[in-house]
């Protein structure tokens, strides 16, 4: 067994294969961790397309950093790369001047039919400061202490933000009859 059941902790032999940039080991790591990395990217970036691109770039970066991988904590190592990459991406985005002054919804455009019961894009409804802790809590299932360490916020304020997020979500689901 290269992986202990129920957690993403890998044995030393597997970590050594990763350090050697063994492609099969890397593919296994990708298979097991891509969903989690993508979820973190969606949480921070709030956009699925951008999260797909970020996931690709994060794994590429991770592959290049593999020779320096320390024993244990592969998951936290990868998730830290993901977090740093996404926050860098946000900073880069903020530096770029935006030319958006009118949402496309205000224009008369043809939109593809939505499937019945399809959810609205909750990510775009939630501001960054609410979306990030909410997604960390409900999607990554981190506890408040872990989120507080990542985001450098108190557990109390994180609880408030998560509650606000759930209220926004509930309102939106009610409005869409979901």
């Amino acid at each position: 067994m290269s992986r202990s059941a129920g957690s993403q902790s890998y044995d030393e032999a597997f970590v050594e294969r990763l350090r050697q940039q063994d492609v099969a080991a890397f593919e296994k790591l990708f298979d097991e961790m891509a969903d989690l990395v993508f979820a973190r990217c969606v949480a921070i970036l709030g956009d699925q397309t951008a999260a797909e691109d970020a996931t690709q770039e994060i794994f590429l970066k991770a592959y290049r950093f593999l020779p320096g991988l320390k024993p244990g904590g592969v998951k936290s190592w990868l998730m830290t790369i993901a977090r740093n990459h996404c926050f860098d991406e946000i900073r880069r985005k903020k530096r770029r001047p935006s030319c958006v002054n009118r949402p496309v919804e205000e224009l008369k455009i043809r939109t593809a039919e939505k499937d019945a019961g399809e959810s609205p894009d909750f990510m775009s409804l939630l501001p960054d400061e609410i979306r990030i802790p909410l997604m960390f809590k409900v999607v990554e299932e981190l506890n408040y202490k872990e989120i507080s360490q990542i985001l450098d916020k108190t557990e109390g304020s994180l609880r408030n933000l998560v509650c606000k997020g759930m209220k926004i979500l509930r309102k939106e689901l009610d409005a869409n009859d979901l």
């Binding site: 593919e27 996931t55 959810s119 997604m135």
Partner: protein, 288 residues
């Protein structure tokens, strides 16, 4: 324990997938209270909706892995820092810059991109047939893709696939579409590049587009991904997501220009002009 206590607990940002995951002091009450059970299941329904939006689709996961493997197989540009390597790299950069400068001054302009496929490259009134082999595109060259299209790469990496018959000028960070119909699939690496049409410009966010450039209008349809579009002359701007299409015509731009000049007091008579409405394409047009 009461319903009020349980509701308070939920409102403090606590979650539980089921009764078994609740703190011990709530279990008894929730098991016997249908209202609290309902509140718990509503919360779980909301969480499921959020989780769905953060789920990586299998086909996308597969695509990302393929792309990562492809880039891993390519020569690596990012390596671990070493001062000696940095110095030799620095020396190499200076050498390459010098060679590039010599090459530029001695042998003409540097290619802006590389193209392969079916069609013609028009350079100084000479037509060069395209082939499956990559051909350098110099500044000012015009690309005329015949049916079937081709591939265009900036910096020697495949960046986009063009299908259909259309004419383009390739610039350093953008592609100007002059006329014709085309379906363009951008790889994630092409993110940030622009497509400039007759009446609009589009910022690529990793996407598949169908485009028509006509003398009097541009038509844009997003098959996959998302783009940021802007009318030429600093007009309207916005995003188009998957499944959305838009026609931007010369008439609208003319109306808008007129509207702007009226607003700024250059016109007499009307108090305020109506906002120009963009035409809507009835159906996406797939190039043959």
């Amino acid at each position: 324990m009461t319903c009020e206590n349980f509701s308070e607990w939920l409102n403090e940002g606590n979650f539980a997938a089921g009764v078994d995951e609740l703190p011990e002091h709530f279990v008894e009450h929730v098991k016997s209270c249908s209202i609290c059970q309902q509140a718990l299941s509503v919360q779980n329904f909301e969480i499921a909706k959020l989780k769905k939006q953060a789920t990586l689709r299998p086909e996308v996961k597969k695509r990302i892995l393929l792309e990562v493997k492809k880039q891993i197989a390519a020569p690596q540009s990012e390596k671990r820092f070493s001062f000696a390597a940095f110095l030799s790299g620095f020396a190499l950069v200076i050498l390459l810059c010098s060679l590039a400068a010599i090459s530029f001054w001695g042998h003409g302009p540097k290619p802006v991109a590389y193209v392969s496929g079916n069609g013609k490259l028009l350079r100084n009134a000479t037509a060069i047939e395209l082939s499956p082999q990559q051909q350098a595109v110099l500044p000012g060259d015009r690309l005329h893709f015949a049916d079937g299209g081709g591939k265009l790469a900036w910096d020697n990496k495949d960046q986009l696939q063009i299908e259909g018959g259309a004419e383009f000028i390739v610039n350093e960070n953008s592609l100007s579409m002059l006329n014709g119909d085309a379906r363009i699939a951008f790889k994630p690496s092409a993110r940030g590049y622009n497509v400039v049409m007759n009446f609009s410009s589009l910022v690529i966010v990793g996407t598949v587009l169908q485009l028509q450039a006509r003398p009097d209008s541009d038509f844009i349809y997003v098959e996959d991904g998302k783009i940021q579009w802007q009318q030429k002359d600093g007009g309207k701007t916005g995003f188009l997501a998957k499944g959305q299409g838009l026609t931007i015509s010369a008439r609208q731009i003319a109306e808008m220009t007129q509207s702007h000049s009226e607003e700024s007091g250059q016109s007499t008579g009307s108090e305020s002009s109506p906002e120009p409405v963009l035409d809507v394409a009835s159906d996406p047009v797939l190039p043959d």
